[in-house]
Amino acid sequence: MTSDALPAIREPFDPSDVTWTPVSRKLVGARLTVAAFFVVPLLLLAVAGAIAGGDAWLWSLPALVVLLGLWIVWLVPRQVGAMAYAERADDLLVRHGIMVRSLVVVPYGRMQYVDVNAGPLARKFGIATVQLHTAAPATSAAIDGLPPHEAARLRDRMASRGEARLAGL
């Protein structure tokens, strides 16, 4: 897949010589499920409150919750669509965010260790998270929503490339 599959994100977050790999769309399902865990009980609570209270204006609360849910349903796919990574010869690029965008460049030679995480929900959806760590705690290079085999491949690749370009601190 190439950047054609992504919503149009212009310079500077789309260097021309880079082929972005988007993360799995399954992440949308996973994130919406997590959101549903919060929104649905909230909605039920609001509806129950409105019925018990009896006043007409109380129905604005469930309406607000529904709006919130709709906003999340609209936002999450876009968020996931903006998340992508690219492997270059010497470094890994990770991009995310729509409102506040960021693009992180992590040189392989700076990689200290790589984490692969998959919680119960993520496993259900068949995705995993790869997090790269350098000696700088500020390096926030996590790639969420990778298919497990891709996560494993990336991990091994990072490890081998990191070794080849090993540097101290």
């Binding site: 500077p12 960021s102 693009l103 040189p107 700076r110 705690p137």
Partner: protein, 535 residues
Amino acid sequence: MTEQLPGTHVPPVEHEPVGGPDAITGWRRMHPVTPALKGWRILAVVVGVVVIQSENLRDAIDLRHGKTWLALIGAIVVVAIVGFAYSSLAWRVTRFAVTDEAVHLRTGLLFRQQRQARLDRLQAVDVVQPLLARLVGLSELKIETAGGDGSGVSLAFLREADAEVLRSELLALAAGLRRPTGAPAAPLSGQGAVADVDPGSSTLPDALPAHAPFDAAPEREVYELPMPRLVVATLRSGAVPVLVLVAAGLVTAAALSGDIGVIFVMLPAVFGGAAFVWNRVNQGANFRAAISPDGIRLRHGLTENRAQTVPPGRVQAIRLSQTPLWRGKDWWRVEINVAGYGQGNEAQRDTVLHPVATRGEAMTALWLVLPDLGVEDPVALVDAALDSSGNDAGFTGAPRSARWVDPVGWRRHGFRVTDRALVTRSGRFWRQIDVVPHERTQSLAIEQGALQRRLGLASFVLHSTPGPVAPRVRHLAAEVAAELLDEQSARARTARATATPEQWMRAVGVPTPADRSGSAPPAGPVEPGPPGPSA
């Protein structure tokens, strides 16, 4: 290890790379007085907790004097005995060894721990003397590695002279020098070997061991901080001036109204301010910096003496900063990132390269870290970085549209790339410049908020190891930021490829064991000034 051990029954291969813990010989103990010094700590903690926890204790004491006092004193004595007993037992099981490759430390009474710190990963070596230890002539040797908080090895306590010898030895080994073949690890006077303690060894003369395998590297002092400047500067920094003004105002108000109660409102803030001033003065007192082949030497401290050594190439980034009230005097605070020092309160003390530098001293401090800034006229560059704004002096500043997001300081945001380092500039009233050598770049990023996108701006972020320096150029034109990101990652890559190896002496072809006979190694290639005093 003492003088008896080596020579006859220790084969010369002893200091070759070792296989496992069993292969390590030469375990040594800390100084026998250690438990006495550490026991007080336990007592102090317990007493402190009791005093803080029990408001009612004082009432109880007031009520009936005699017996409560006795009980209290008894309790303190019991705690003291337990504390000292524990410390003594802990001392008995604590031992350390230095091989060519690593420092090994075994500790733990109930939970045994053996820690091994590789010397080529060493980030800094500190000799620390708390007040009590200084009185009895002992020091703590701390070896910092880059593993985050609590990752270093602390050898407490050693005789002052022994700590110095051990420091020279560790630094020489870390630099890639090798012990003269067959020579023992630096023997420590007055400390028994673990296995076969010779009763005579603890009564040996106090002198430096005559055959220490490594001489202390010669050093040349480069600057010193006069006490008056430190005090005045501290009073002019942070919130102290505001605090003083508010306090003066309140005292006046109290005097005029005759109501003293107002003053008490200020007490917590005054205590906070006093603690801040005291900490800064205490830590920065007698601040001296020197350069030696081993790296940068920093000595400071009023109650607690610290002598830090940061080997070449261990400084990850450097920051010069100035508060508004320092502007008139042109004073700068110089801080550095060193991977071993981490973050937090302790780091604030350890990561200061100069507490209050004049401009000239700030230049020197920068030179200590980066002898070659990668430009023809480094002084002009630094002057420009400190004073300039906009696109002056080779700097690339923020575009005019940045005034909408940062109306005050937008002209000061900027950067300049030299052959060796990235120099970033920011702050109009709280001025600041950060310098990061290209080969020390960890990772890079650009960030863009919604408003910034509207204005076509983006911020450039450079990630360094934990510490006070976090370089960031805000509100650059988006294309400029993207270009900088690309170029900077390329520069960092090439710089890494040619960077000095971790064992810094290896870079200059200092003789290694193959081509050297048994004499002590020379101090090194960096122009050594007259050998300075080492304490």
